[in-house]
């Protein structure tokens, strides 16, 4: 019997212009790869800022080829949201697989993650989650 072989985790920039960055996340985003994800996103955002300056408004993450997602992945995503918002960048979670939809629904943070970033004065220090969390019904 062939055991399950996970797809290699990767983060790929699909398209970029001054205001928008599209990134595809492939494979398992879990305990073993969440640090890689955080690092890759940091590098990607940094490279974009080097090239275009602080013009980025929208970061689109494409999850179509995501294999698995666990709480460590969610933690990394929360960290990304925190950093993105401090730079005035909004997160967009595109083409979410069913398990990701369910995870975001159960943990109640889908709206928090995709909340539009405040384009006021970008705070340099990563204060704890600026902006209001969406109230639950």
């Amino acid at each position: 019997m062939t055991r399950y072989q996970p797809t290699e985790f990767s983060v790929t920039v699909r398209a970029a212009d001054a205001r928008t960055l599209r990134v595809a996340v492939r494979g398992d985003l879990d305990y073993d790869t969440s640090d890689d994800f955080a690092l890759a996103m940091y590098d990607t955002l940094h490279a974009h800022a080097e090239e275009h300056g602080p013009t980025l408004r929208d970061l689109h993450l494409d999850w179509a080829e995501l294999n698995a997602f666990d709480s460590s992945g969610l933690s990394a995503l929360l960290g990304l949201r925190r950093r993105a918002h401090s730079a005035g960048i909004s997160l967009h979670l595109d083409r979410r697989p069913e398990f990701l939809v369910r995870m975001l629904q159960v943990t109640g943070i889908a709206d928090h993650l995709t909340q539009p970033a405040n384009r006021g004065v970008p705070s340099s220090s990563p204060a704890i989650g600026e902006g209001e969390s969406a109230p639950m019904s």
Binding site: M1, T2, R3, Y4, Y31, A68, D70, S71, S72, L74, S75, A76, L78, G79, R82, F99, R102, Q105, V106, T107, G108, I109, H112, P126, A127, I128, G129, E132, S133, A134, P135, M136, S137
Partner: protein, 580 residues
């Protein structure tokens, strides 16, 4: 060109050589040919030959010796008069040559601390010329190679023996034993002080290794205090064996100490201890080579000991954490059945994510508070956060009537500016009233509990909310559920639904399969329900690795009221800690 010159010179020398023997160049004399050197007809080539040569007659008397031979054998043989002038081994070989006839083998032996191979070439009338070719350097090189190989093999043995164990005591014992067997007459390992006492491990050949702890003065052995701090070893010659305190000498070692080596056992950053080698005065002192080898030995032993010590510390930390994380064993409380099961991840670094607790109400009219949760991440950090959550929740128990307030305060307590480590959990407050169990359930970002009805229906509790510890404000929604006799509310972590396995090994178990499996758990006791779920998960996983799996069932027992008991709950544990 220079090579050519050399070649010419060589051939000339050869011509002289062979000419002196009256044999044409490049004709190898075979035994029995008549062209042999004759006693008085040898000439300058013979006397100037770089290797010693002696002409010995059939009676064993030296007839003639060349300059090199005279220089070697001294004046006894220089006059060529005495048979005893030949070294014993050569005289013996000559005698055998006479009786056994030719050809003879090359013999070898020592003269004046040098070793030679003696090649006989027979001459007329039973005379034999013995050519002595020195091989002292070759032999000492061979000897050095042999001992180097032995040491390398010994080092490999040491590494093998030491690295096969991660037990500190065992490693120390093996080190002392090997040191005593291969390096010295006796060996002592002094470990860094634990408190004020040092552990002393004595070993000597043919005796059992003994371990004691003692209060010792490290300053009483030259170099020991420094070695215990990891400083380089003191040269052996600075240590006077007379000055050694008694505790250095192994019990029962009755010979006087002749020489000593004190060398640190280098660990990872901190010294793992000190090795003291002792040799009795009846043996020769340690050579420089042996001292260097002792340090090589100590380096390997130190690495192994240090690894064992680190492992022991790690294991003790893990054991301590697991002890704290171990969920309480549950039974009935105020007429409600509770059963929990926890299957820790088999990878130790993955331990620490899931937890549950049951806090019994003070009396049957008070609610019993149950919490089951899952901390993001794994390992030590997750374990620490788990401990924090459990402690905060216990402190907030008086407020448990309001789940929203409890979770909001918990969220505040966990918020951290640096990381986004969070937890998801379910709070349940349970109370038995007129045959029914009233539950108030609140999920904070956790999978909603499943209600197993008596008729086999499985419902998802209508509660939802946001995870705690990552966002400045959270919102949650509670729900009230009533359990009739035989009905169960199951709290579980995603270790169950995210168990990856099945027939192809790649499928998630998922919530749908779990709900389907729970249909068969209607009217089962709480313990049977959790054990069934754990068994199903184990079957699904097969050989696959998994995270922590936690399940907790709250059941309204079919048989009605039972004993009020929690085994090994918080009270028990606290009492045990106090007793310690």
């Amino acid at each position: 060109m220079r090579d050519g010159c050399r070649t010419t010179i060589f051939f000339r020398a050869a011509e002289r050589w062979w000419g002196a023997q009256c044999v044409p160049p490049l004709v190898i004399p075979s035994p029995g040919t008549s062209e042999r050197p004759r006693g008085g007809d040898i000439g300058t080539a013979w006397s100037d030959a770089p290797c010693p040569a002696v002409l010995v007659d059939s009676g064993g008397s030296v007839v003639e010796a060349n300059d090199a031979a005279r220089a070697l054998f001294g004046r006894h043989t220089a006059d060529g008069s005495a048979q005893s002038g030949l070294p014993h081994w050569l005289a013996e070989a000559h005698r055998r040559l006479g009786t056994a006839g030719l050809p003879a083998h090359v013999v070898s032996g020592a003269v004046a601390h040098r070793t030679f191979q003696a090649h006989p070439s027979p001459g007329e009338g039973g005379n034999v010329v013995w050519w002595l070719v020195e091989d002292t350097a070759l032999r000492s090189a061979e000897q050095a190679l042999r001992s180097e190989r032995e040491r390398t093999a010994l080092l490999a043995d040491i590494s093998g023996a030491l690295l096969s164990s991660l037990n500190v005591d065992r490693c120390t014992e093996v080190t002392a034993r090997m040191a005593a067997d291969h390096l010295a007459d006796a060996a002592l390992i002094v470990t860094p002080a634990q408190g004020r006492r040092h552990s002393l491990t004595h070993a000597q050949a043919d005796r059992a290794v003994t371990q004691t702890t003692a209060h010792i003065d490290a300053g009483s052995v030259p170099g020991l205090a420094e070695a215990l701090q990891g400083f380089p070893p003191v040269p052996t010659r600075w240590i006077d064996p007379e000055d050694l305190p008694d505790w250095v000498v192994p019990p029962g070692f009755d010979r006087p100490i002749g020489s000593v080596i004190v060398t640190p056992l280098p660990g990872h950053g901190v010294p793992a201890g000190v090795l003291i080698l002792l040799r009795s005065s009846t043996q020769r002192a340690f050579t420089d080579g042996e001292e260097i080898f002792a340090r090589l030995f100590a380096a390997r032993a130190g690495a192994a000991l240090s690894a064992a010590r680190l492992y022991a510390e790690q294991a003790s930390i893990t054991a301590t954490l697991l002890q704290e994380l171990l969920p309480p064993r549950l039974e009935r409380v105020h007429g409600v059945e509770y059963a929990g099961a926890f299957r820790a991840s088999q990878d130790h670094e993955r331990v620490g994510g899931d937890f549950y607790d049951v806090h019994p109400g003070a009396d049957p009219s008070k609610e019993t508070v149950v919490v089951l949760g899952d901390v993001a991440g794994k390992g030590l950090e997750a374990a620490v956060l788990t401990g924090k959550i459990r402690t905060v929740l216990q402190a907030l128990l008086p407020l448990s009537g309001d789940h929203h307030q409890v979770l909001g305060l918990l969220n505040d307590a966990l918020l951290h500016s640096r990381h986004t480590r969070f937890a998801t959990l379910v709070l349940a407050s349970a109370r038995r009233r007129s045959g029914q169990v009233e539950l108030r359930l609140t999920s904070a970002g956790h999978l909603p509990p499943l209600i197993i009805r008596a008729d086999g229906r499985v419902e998802e509790a209508d509660t939802g909310g946001m995870l705690v510890g990552a966002l400045p404000r959270i919102a949650v929604r509670s729900t009230d559920v009533v359990l009739a006799p035989g009905e169960t509310c199951l709290l579980y972590t995603d270790g169950i639904t995210e168990a990856r396995g099945g027939p192809l090994g790649d499928q998630l178990y998922g919530e749908a399969r779990l709900q389907e499996a729970l249909r068969e758990c209607a009217r089962m006791p709480a313990r049977a329900v959790v054990e069934r779920v754990q068994m199903i998960a184990a079957q699904w996983l097969g050989e696959g690795r998994h995270d922590d799996l936690a399940t907790l069932a709250i059941t309204n027992p079919v048989g009605g009221h039972g004993a009020l008991r929690i085994v090994d709950g918080h009270e028990d544990r606290r009492r045990r800690r106090e007793e310690r």
